[in-house]
């Protein structure tokens, strides 16, 4: 450029103070309360799983960066670490380490890097990894253990949602008490059990505006309305909407997974459809599907239509007519 007085640059011209690592580390901090509660409830098993997923995810990311000749510093942007944390938090506490490692490798390799790395992936990488091992090792992925704080002496243990679905917990009156669901004193995936810990993390993200508030609100709204209708019609058979919100992976999914910036829509209207769709599908799967829990498949399914939503609900250009002739 021959010493021009003007700087010529393509858009964007406004830049936010936020950077990828800054956003990512905010999310990691927001995840920490739930991480700590899971370590409290599941002790060494939790620590080992987190460690295995972190090492496997970072190693896979590093190998791909090396093969694809990309700058190594993006290894430390926090995105692979978030994938590792989220994956570990959605695993059964008693899962053997080799399965966790397979899940981590798939999450980074097939979930993220084959599409071109951060920003190009269609699906939430952690959920891709989880879906893979869920389908590959269905028995191991649905074998649960009670938290050490419960002092029960059984080898296996049902999750609150599993109880609801397969043991008719509402009819039997054995539904997990809401207090346990709030604190996390129950069976389930590592990081999903404690609603309070997840709410604390969500507050951090919402006040920092790291996540789009419409997504969790839409998901929770749709699920509450859907399960609420059935509960009103027959409270002796169906669980309350509050139970459905607090049990299982709904909160971690709504606050930390569906809100992934890369795989969620960019326009408000698209976002509403995306979020309501997830909530509705979770309700459908939990009430009528073959699985006890449906958060993972709902988010992955709605991920697939995000490009379509982005294209259909493009904001109008200033002055553009509502209906072009």
């Amino acid at each position: 450029m021959p010493n021009s007085e003007y700087m010529i640059r393509s858009s964007p011209h406004f830049k936010d103070k936020d950077s990828v690592p800054k956003i990512m580390y905010t999310v990691i901090i927001a995840l920490l309360p739930a991480v700590f509660t899971s370590v409290y409830y599941f002790r060494l098993k939790a620590v080992v799983l987190y460690f295995a997923c972190l090492v496997a995810c970072l190693a896979t990311e590093a190998i791909f960066l090396w093969v694809r000749k990309k700058p190594f510093q993006s290894l430390w942007d926090g995105s692979a670490a978030i994938t590792a944390l989220l994956l570990a938090m959605t695993l059964p506490p008693d899962l053997s380490l080799d399965l966790a490692v397979i899940g981590s490798v798939v999450a980074i390799a097939i979930g993220k890097q084959v599409f071109g790395g951060l920003g190009y992936n269609i699906f939430n990488p952690a959920l891709v990894g989880r879906a893979f091992i869920q389908t590959a090792f269905p028995v191991a992925m649905t074998t649960w253990i009670p938290p050490v704080t419960l002092h029960v002496d059984t080898a296996t243990f049902a999750t609150p949602l599993g109880n609801l679905k397969f043991q008719d917990a509402v009819v039997q009156g054995t539904l997990a008490p809401l207090k346990d669901l709030l604190l996390g004193n129950t069976g389930g995936c590592l990081g999903e059990t404690s609603a309070v810990a997840l709410f604390i993390g969500a507050l951090i993200l919402l006040t920092k505006k790291t996540i789009n508030w419409r997504i969790p609100v839409g998901i929770i709204l749709a699920l509450s309305v859907f399960t609420g209708l059935f509960w009103l019609v027959n409270p002796n058979k169906f669980a309350t909407p509050v139970f459905h919100i607090l049990a299982g992976g709904l909160l971690i999914g709504a606050f930390f997974m569906a809100t992934d910036m890369v795989t969620s829509p960019i326009t408000p209207r698209g976002t509403w459809i995306y979020a309501l769709g997830i909530g509705l599908m979770v309700g459908l799967i939990r009430l009528f599907g073959g699985f006890a829990e449906g958060v993972m498949y709902s988010i992955l399914f709605m991920n697939t239509i995000v490009p379509l939503l982005n294209r259909s609900f493009r904001p109008r250009i200033l002055g553009e007519r509502r209906k072009p002739q």
């Binding site: 397979i102 389908t135 590959a136 191991a140």
Partner: protein, 202 residues
């Protein structure tokens, strides 16, 4: 026909024009019956039989067929050989025929076969058509073998039914499900493209 062209005619089916990995033809059986090596092998051999005989017949009667009814004629020829293959498997390899289910009759609509008649046998000599059909079916068979080996070893820990993985191995059930077929094929296609772009550049 010189030896060199025979070689080239045969070899193109193995890699440069591999029906599965390069032309992306015949993907339905490729995905559906590669859960075990034995079914993949049986499908590959049945397709080989149909492709070679159809190519022979089509190339020998090509001058007699009016252009307007050529596709109909090819289909009748192909369907006859497919029915023969299907009956043969049912009579002599009943368990395999059961495992392949509707996919043997569906060879009729395998694009590789009709595609080779339309693109090759209908305009080349009997000898060349035979070499082409041999090359294409070998390419198809090899692709199915690779795919089904990966899927059976990872998905069941066995190869042709024999245990090859130690007791420590936990079978990846997803690999024998449709999802495993898509993932494996996707990875294979990616690798094939990568190799292709490397060799083209050098």
């Amino acid at each position: 026909m010189t030896t060199k062209t025979i070689r080239a005619e045969y070899l193109k089916g193995l890699w440069d024009e591999n029906p599965v990995l390069r032309q992306l033809l015949g993907l339905c059986p490729t995905l559906a019956v590669t859960g075990t090596v034995i079914t993949g092998l049986a499908m590959g051999l049945a397709t080989t039989f149909v492709l070679i005989l159809s190519s022979l017949v089509v190339s020998s009667i090509k001058k007699l067929i009016p252009a307007q009814v050529r596709i109909a004629t090819y289909i009748v020829v192909i369907a006859s050989f497919v029915t023969i293959a299907d009956q043969f498997l049912k009579a002599f390899f009943y368990p395999i025929s059961e495992a392949l289910g509707p996919y043997v009759p569906l060879i009729v609509v395998n694009c590789i076969i009709l595609g080779r008649q339309e693109a090759f046998s209908s305009r080349n000599s009997i000898g060349r058509s035979l070499i082409d059909a041999l090359g294409m079916s070998t390419g198809f068979l090899l692709a199915l073998l690779v795919l089904s080996s990966i899927r059976e070893i990872l998905g069941a820990g066995t190869f042709l039914g024999y245990q090859v993985m130690g007791p420590w191995f936990k079978p990846w059930i997803i690999m024998i499900l449709p999802a495993g077929a898509f993932i494996t094929l996707g990875i294979l296609l990616g690798i094939a493209l990568k190799i292709e772009s490397k060799t083209k550049r050098s």
